[in-house]
């Protein structure tokens, strides 16, 4: 076969792989409910009849969301009565409420951590519902301010957990084909709670003559009864309708049924921890953009209700009762708006999930304009109409944003994403909003505050609009991760061999500056690979991505087939990946011996083994033995590199990443260091050596990569790279330029 025929065959193979991947991606998208068309959408009742699907989780969580509003609403309405009965001033009550708000904002994070560790979202939902019911009952027996403080803080924790638990549970309980409608219905339950709570408080306090204590006890008992409805709630498992269906797509294609664990790394060793997941989420462009939008929305939405209270009181002389009715009316409009939105939103999602963000931007912009006009019109009927329409529009924002955000991330990360959404909305935006609107209110009065909502509203709309184009790529990226996982599973189950390290499609940015573009790099067991390139080509950055010091904005890093892209650097160290950074890779203020001991301590080796390793380092580098009690900062450059390289002798990694070993060192020293690298490699450690010196690198390694401007420009045998003048010229010219200087 001629070279040309070989090349064509390889190209055809690559095209086939790409085509298969695109087919799989399209199928996976369809299974996730993104069909590209609004047509053929199944009715919700058909979705609810799918085997294994039941209306019960929606009803149970919906009922919990109704009663979740009781305590907060009752407290906000009955604050004056509580203040008088306990004999405490409004300032003290305001302080307690501020603390409660803080707890609501912060509670989602620990609850997400518990949900991740224990995997018991359903149990946590039930427990928190019983807790907040008991808290409501306890509120009725409070006699001192700090008793009130404790019950409110407990209420803050339990109600704050709802954000983290309910929507992710619903996402896992229902197939993607009906999720927008399911989340809208759930939001409708919540709005119904906002209708019911004022009516119940009015009924109990005005018509049944209950004191605030009686109201809390009654609402708590009702809540307790409602919580029992949710007792049969079970956790459906994470990713049942997402990750699992994407995996099934690949298996269907390959006609496989294997579900075994693959690779030699145990899943527990690479399961992302809580903060690793949060950090990984923050790298997803849609999430980042929506979180910024949430913070801006928080400025608008969180203090809006409070200022609307003042507006109705001061401008329209409405007392507590009529104000309660006004809010119940707004909540009733919310229900109607959500009912109208469900089907339409589902169609938009099917076409392109990004369209939901676009819709969110439009409704937000219109809503704030209506609020602004509503603050100025002289007729109360017009106020009702304008605020009603605005409330209806704002109501559909929550499910629109939730479904978009929760769809572009792996299902196990949904509680974390929900927690972040809550924190950015309530904690960040709410706090800024309270300060912003208070300032406006002092200067321009309550009408000025209502009008000023135009600023965060329009800003939030623009940010949401800008996120539209990010959703589809992020969804595809999430699908690709699962597909890649499955493809690797297929390779291993068919007896294929996996490389020790495989980086695929790596993008990396320092802030807004992208420095790596679609980089692929593979290292086999025991291989010695040279990574060459001009200054600033991105070699050291690529090493950082492999060792976990830097996290890529796209692409994957797999170690023995297992995805470690977002694993912490110290956990990669335990897997056997060690990096020796360029320059002075030592702790300057510590002695040589202490440096070596510190290297060993990172993997908690026993003392005897560590001492033996240190002795081995001294045998390998006698000059270090002579200077064992000398501070590392006083060593020469070569000695410091010896000390840095000793890290590999102590840790005995499976993969050693060396950055700029020879830079600025005398040839004799470089020779000693390279001998040691060869020895380490000969003992089975794979090595990636970043070098500026072409001669050194290609003399040492059989396999070389060449990088230029953040891209891998060559991947092949070192001998072949030597023949590529077009690439190497740049390095030689740079080297010559440096020498001339």
């Amino acid at each position: 076969m001629s070279e040309l025929e070989k090349l064509r065959e390889e190209e055809a193979l690559v095209a086939e792989v790409e085509q298969t991947r695109e087919q799989l991606r399209t199928q996976a998208r369809e299974k996730l409910g993104v069909t590209g068309s609004g047509e053929g959408m199944p009715p919700l009742r058909d979705v609810l009849r799918v085997p294994g699907v039941s209306v019960y989780p929606l009803v149970a969580l919906g009922v919990l969301s109704i009663v979740d509003t009781f305590q907060s609403y009752a407290f906000s309405v009955l604050t004056p009565e509580i203040s008088r009965a306990l004999g405490v001033g409004k300032g003290a009550i305001a302080g307690v409420v501020a603390l409660k708000t803080l707890f609501i904002a912060l509670a989602p994070l620990p609850v997400a951590a518990i949900a991740q560790r224990k995997g018991t979202r359903a149990v946590l939902s039930i427990v928190s519902a019983f807790l907040w019911s008991l808290v409501a009952i306890s509120t009725g027996f409070v006699t001192l301010i700090w008793g009130l403080l404790f019950v409110l803080l407990l209420d803050g924790i339990t109600t704050g957990s709802v954000e983290v638990l309910h929507r992710p549970l619903l996402m896992d309980s229902y197939p993607p084909q009906g999720r927008v409608r399911v989340l809208s219905t759930y939001q409708g339950f919540n709005a119904f709670g906002n209708v019911l709570a004022p009516l119940l408080v009015a009924l109990l306090s005005t018509y049944l003559d209950f004191t605030w204590r009686g109201v809390f006890v009654t609402l708590g008992l009702l809540s307790l009864g409602a919580a029992t409805i949710a007792l049969r709630l079970r956790d459906p498992g994470v990713g049942r309708w997402d990750t699992d269906v994407i995996r099934a797509t690949v298996k269907e294609k390959r006609r496989e049924s294997s579900d075994q664990h693959f690779g030699t790394v145990h899943p527990d060793e690479v399961a992302l921890g809580f903060f690793e997941i949060v950090r990984r989420l923050m790298l997803i462009p849609t999430i980042r953009r929506v979180l910024v939008a949430q913070a801006v929305l928080g400025i608008l939405l969180v203090p809006f209700q409070t200022f609307l209270f003042f507006f109705l009181d001061e401008e329209w002389n409405l007392g507590p009762g009529p104000r309660g009715l006004f809010f119940a009316y707004l909540a009733a409009v919310d229900i109607a708006a959500l009912a109208a939105f469900g089907r339409r939103g589902e169609q938009l999602f099917r076409r392109n999930p990004g369209r939901l963000l676009e819709l969110g931007a439009v409704v937000l912009a219109v809503a704030v304009v209506l609020i602004c006009i509503g603050g100025l019109v002289p007729s109360f009927v017009l106020v009702c109409a304008l605020f009603g329409i605005a409330a209806g529009l704002l109501a559909i924002l929550t499910p629109a944003l939730a479904i978009t955000v929760l769809s572009v991330i792996p299902s196990n990360m949904r509680p974390h994403a929900a927690a972040l959404l809550g924190i950015f909305l309530g904690g960040v935006g709410g706090l800024i909003g309270a300060l912003f609107l208070s300032g406006i209110d002092r200067r321009f009065g309550v009408v000025g505050s209502m009008v000023s909502l135009l600023i965060p509203g329009v800003l939030g709309a623009l940010i949401l609009r800008s996120a539209k184009g990010l959703v589809q790529p992020d969804l595809d990226r999430m699908i690709d991760e699962v597909l890649e996982d499955e493809e690797i599973r297929t390779i291993t189950s068919s007896g294929g061999r996996l490389p020790m390290l495989a980086c695929r499609g790596i993008d990396f940015s320092y802030g807004q500056l992208q420095v790596l573009f679609d980089c692929n790099l593979t290292v086999d067991d025991g291989e010695l690979v040279a990574l060459l390139g001009t200054n600033g080509a991105g070699k050291s950055t690529l090493l950082k991505v492999i060792s976990g010091i830097g996290l890529p904005s796209a692409g994957s890093v797999r170690f023995r087939g297992t995805d470690i892209t977002y694993l912490d650097a110290e956990r990669r160290l335990r897997l056997g990946i060690t990096q020796i950074p360029g320059g002075r890779a030592v702790f300057g203020p510590m002695t040589v011996a202490d440096n070596l001991r510190a290297f060993g301590t990172t993997v908690r080796r026993d003392r005897a083994a560590l001492d033996a390793s240190i002795d081995r380092c001294f045998d390998a580098f006698p000059r270090l033995a002579e200077r064992r009690n000398q501070l590392a900062s006083t060593l020469s450059g070569g000695e410091q590199q010896m000390l840095g390289l000793s890290k590999a002798l102590i840790l005995k990694p499976r993969l050693l990443l060396i950055d700029e070993l020879s830079l600025g060192l005398a040839p004799v020293i470089v020779g000693q260091l390279l001998d040691m690298v060869r020895e380490i490699n000969a003992e089975g450690t794979a090595v990636v050596l970043v070098e500026q010196s072409v001669n050194i690198a290609l003399g040492l390694a059989d396999h070389a990569y060449f990088m230029e401007k953040g891209e891998i420009r060559f991947d092949g045998r070192s001998a072949d790279l030597l023949a590529r003048d077009d690439l190497l010229r740049a390095v030689f010219l740079e080297g010559a330029g440096a020498r001339n200087k």
Binding site: R84, V88, T143, W146, F210
Partner: protein
Amino acid sequence: MTRTRTRTALLLVLALVANGCAATGIAFRQDDRLRFVSPDDRAEVTLPVRIEWSVEDFDVPSDGGFAVFVDRAPQPPGKTLEWLARDDDACRPADGCPDAEWFAQRDVFPTTETSFTIERLPARSDDRREFHEITVVLVDDDGRRIGETGWTLELQVARDE
């Protein structure tokens, strides 16, 4: 270890909550022994304004009297009016303090009448509509608050331009 710590934390929280709560001496149904006669709630008034109320099942002065609080919270149930002076280092050692003058300076007015005239009220610094809250509680002969109900009337004060 973790379980022990969790239990300890839970017990601590329960103890604190229990300490801040009570099962006796608290009312779940509204106490309607006192009703405001005039003016109406949220009525627009000009100063001076006379507040009138009626009372049932409470004999004055044999059962006690009233304490009127203007724009401030009353003392907690079971506490005497002197409790309001607990943090006033100048008043506590002085003989006869707190007296009627001390209370009046702090917008607290003990009375055995069923009416009370408010001569003046502090104006709001901003140009908002001016709402003031009048709270009446029942007190015994020692000024100790009876029950935990505070009857409240909200007034909108119109100032002469």
